[in-house]
């Protein structure tokens, strides 16, 4: 028993020493990344890794970046974060919602290390959260989709029925409806972020049921290939540009562009100006990129889509502006009212006009 207590105190002391280390022991700023998938997934993790490379590009020898990929959301994440902190990381980006509690746990042990957690909602003195207003990009997609569709049926491949995805569906539906009152959404849930075979099937099903525009909230290019095989079907790139499917079927895309934010936060750590914050950045801040709108889109639609994009970027237009009713007909936003971030973050209802129920 005694030996164990001794061991425990020894560990505690070592932890104290270690936490003091990073600031003293080195001059290079060390930035760590914890990735949920492989950097070769071509989607979510791939784009975060592009952000990491942007840091290296920007600061050169003044920074050192490290990463561990395919880290399961659980004790392994705790270990990897802690290992990075011990090895002298000054700033650690944890790039999955599922790392939330683990990030908080490790951050409490290393008050001198800064943490940035993607898409979460818990913060601390040394933990910031950041996320992108992808729904702004969704509105632009919805605008183009509503104009392009001839069958008035737009297919939507959802991943999981979570607020992030529901928000995207609502934003694109409102934008599509604004330009095409007859538009109808068919939504299928794939219950996966990444499963090419299943995504291909989902796209085929939607096409067979009459959809001629497919929006996807899953990460593979399989729906693009399915659309191409079907012929006259339009798609949009998700997470990465998927430009290899341009100009048809991919007519535009939403790109996760983390680079500028990562560079900015790394700079803040180097300058000693880093402070905890909760940011939710959109097109205007550059975190959400709208991929090139191809010539497969009629010129006037392209122009109006770009105008919408710029208006959202400038803050002149909000994708959720009243009057908007909820699916059951109750009033959500009065005329001219815009949605507050709290409601958007926890969004668990469809807006009026979308058929079907969100799976519970």
């Amino acid at each position: 028993m005694k030996r164990r207590t001794l061991l425990a105190t020894g560990v505690a002391a070592a932890a104290l020493v270690a936490t003091g280390l990073p600031a003293l022991a080195q001059d290079k700023t060390k930035v760590g990344f914890v990735f949920v998938g492989p950097v070769g997934d071509g989607g979510w993790t791939y784009e975060h890794n592009q952000g990491r490379l942007a840091i290296e590009e920007e600061f050169g020898d003044a920074v050192e970046t490290v990463f561990v990929e395919s880290v399961p959301e659980g004790p392994d994440a705790v270990r990897v974060m802690q290992q990075m902190a011990l090895d002298g990381a000054d700033l650690i980006f944890t790039t999955s919602f599922g790392y939330m509690d683990q990030t908080m746990e490790v951050a409490a042990k290393f008050p001198d290390v800064k943490f940035e957690h993607a898409t979460g909602f818990k913060t601390a003195d040394n933990v910031s959260t950041y996320s992108a207003r992808f729904y702004e990009g969704r509105a632009v997609q919805g605008h183009i989709a509503g104009n392009l569709t001839k069958s008035n049926v737009i297919g939507y491949i959802g991943s999981f029925p979570i607020p992030e995805v529901v928000r995207g569906i609502n934003a694109s539906f409102l934008a599509a409806k604004a330009v095409n009152p007859d538009v109808q959404f068919k939504i299928v849930w794939a219950y996966t972020w990444f499963d090419p075979a299943k995504e291909a099937e989902a796209a085929n099903v939607l096409i067979e049921q009459g959809a001629d525009v497919i929006l996807q909230h899953t990460d593979s290019t399989a729906p693009q290939a399915a659309a191409q095989a079907a012929g006259n079907v339009y798609t949009f790139g998700q997470a990465s540009d998927m430009a290899e499917y341009a100009p048809m079927p991919r007519v535009s895309s939403i790109i996760d562009n983390w680079g500028p934010y990562y560079v900015e936060r790394t700079k803040a750590v180097m300058d000693g100006t880093w402070e905890t914050q909760q940011v939710w950045e959109g097109i205007g801040d550059g975190m959400v990129g709208i991929g090139d709108i191809t010539d497969a889109v009629p010129a006037e639609v392209k122009a109006s889509a770009e105008a919408l994009r710029d208006a959202i970027a400038a803050g002149e237009t909000h994708p959720f502006t009243g009057p908007v009713n909820k699916q059951d007909g109750s009033v959500w936003l009065a005329d001219g009212e815009t949605a507050d971030d709290g409601t958007l973050l926890g969004m668990n209802f469809y807006v009026e006009g979308i058929e079907g129920d969100i799976p519970q």
Binding site: G37, D41, G155, I187, F194, P196, A197, K198, N204, G356
Partner: protein, 304 residues
């Protein structure tokens, strides 16, 4: 809800395509298991086939050569399993699991420089005359060639197992390897060939994903298809004919639930996705013919 928007003809047609990768992997595993070997590394062989096929198709510009490369890649990986289990007498369950781990790592390393590239096109063939038959034409005769290759392999395996002497030997080896050995059959050689055939088929199944279905290379793109293939073999009670049925049922459940969702029906997806596996267990219990090959998974060592 609008069920009329579901077109049964298109549903059946897409089902054939959806079932092809698992059908290919499963028919290979079926032969392996009929020879008395349980190779749980299907997922690893599939993904290795996917990357090999993709690399070769991109390098040569020919999807056909890609498929050949995928078959060779899958067979090479399975050879590793074969040598370990047949010559070094290691446990098949553990070796198969290790093979999956190894294959996932190997494929990711091999594919590092092939991200974001598109595979050469592999157009559908429209079978002349037959493809124009109303109803049946679009369902059966307007797919890409690999769909038919898959069906052909299934038929060939059926013929091989039931109508040839070599097939008889293979089944004998699987049922009772000691007796087969006593009769003078080459247990190890037979099994090694079966294992390599299984690897080649799994490779084809993986390449169908990376060259036709997606078609792109991404890490982990088989996403568990190899495990489903294992389930289908069991569902089919090790019979090629039923394997086809099993692959279509497994593929069909996914396609059908997506169809129902798109038609606006609230589908308890998670509960529905269990159903094929529960059905497989029921098949195992009910069908007395659903008996596994007698020597399945057991180590063979010829006592002299």
């Amino acid at each position: 809800m609008d069920l009329s928007s579901i077109n049964p003809i298109l549903l059946l047609a897409s089902l054939m395509v959806a079932a092809t990768p698992i059908l290919l992997a499963a028919i290979g595993e079926l032969v392996v298991e009929r020879a008395g070997v349980l190779n749980l590394g299907v997922e690893g062989m599939m993904i290795t086939g996917a990357v090999c096929g993709f690399i070769i198709a991109v390098a040569t510009g020919s999807p056909w050569l890609g498929f050949v490369g995928a078959a060779i890649g899958g067979a090479m990986l399975s050879l590793l399993f074969g040598v370990l289990t047949q010559f070094l007498l290691s446990n098949q369950v553990a070796t198969g699991l290790a093979l999956t781990l190894f294959g996932l790592g190997l494929s990711a390393l091999m594919g590092q420089n092939y991200l974001g590239i598109r595979a050469p096109a592999f157009p559908d063939i429209h079978v002349p005359l037959l493809g124009d038959i109303p109803v049946i034409g679009p369902i059966v005769f307007q797919h890409d060639p690999m769909v038919y290759v898959g069906l052909f392999i299934v038929a060939a395996v059926w013929w091989f197992l039931n109508r040839t002497r070599a097939g008889l030997v293979l089944r004998a080896v699987g049922e009772n390897h000691d007796a087969a050995h006593a009769l003078g059959y080459h247990v190890r050689q037979t099994r090694l060939l079966a294992i390599m055939f299984g690897g080649a088929c799994a490779g084809l199944g993986g390449a169908y994903l990376s060259l036709v279905r997606v078609p792109q290379w991404t890490e982990g793109m088989t996403a568990g298809a190899g495990w489903i293939a294992l389930a289908i073999v069991v569902f089919a009670s090790w019979r090629p004919g039923r394997l086809l049925l099993g692959a279509y049922i497994f593929g069909g459940v996914t396609v059908l639930q997506l169809n129902l969702q798109a038609a606006g029906l609230a589908v308890p997806v998670e509960y529905l996705s269990m159903s094929p596996y529960l059905a497989t267990i029921a098949v195992l219990v009910i069908m007395s013919a659903g008996r596994a090959p007698g020597s399945l998974g057991r180590i063979f060592h010829a006592a002299r």
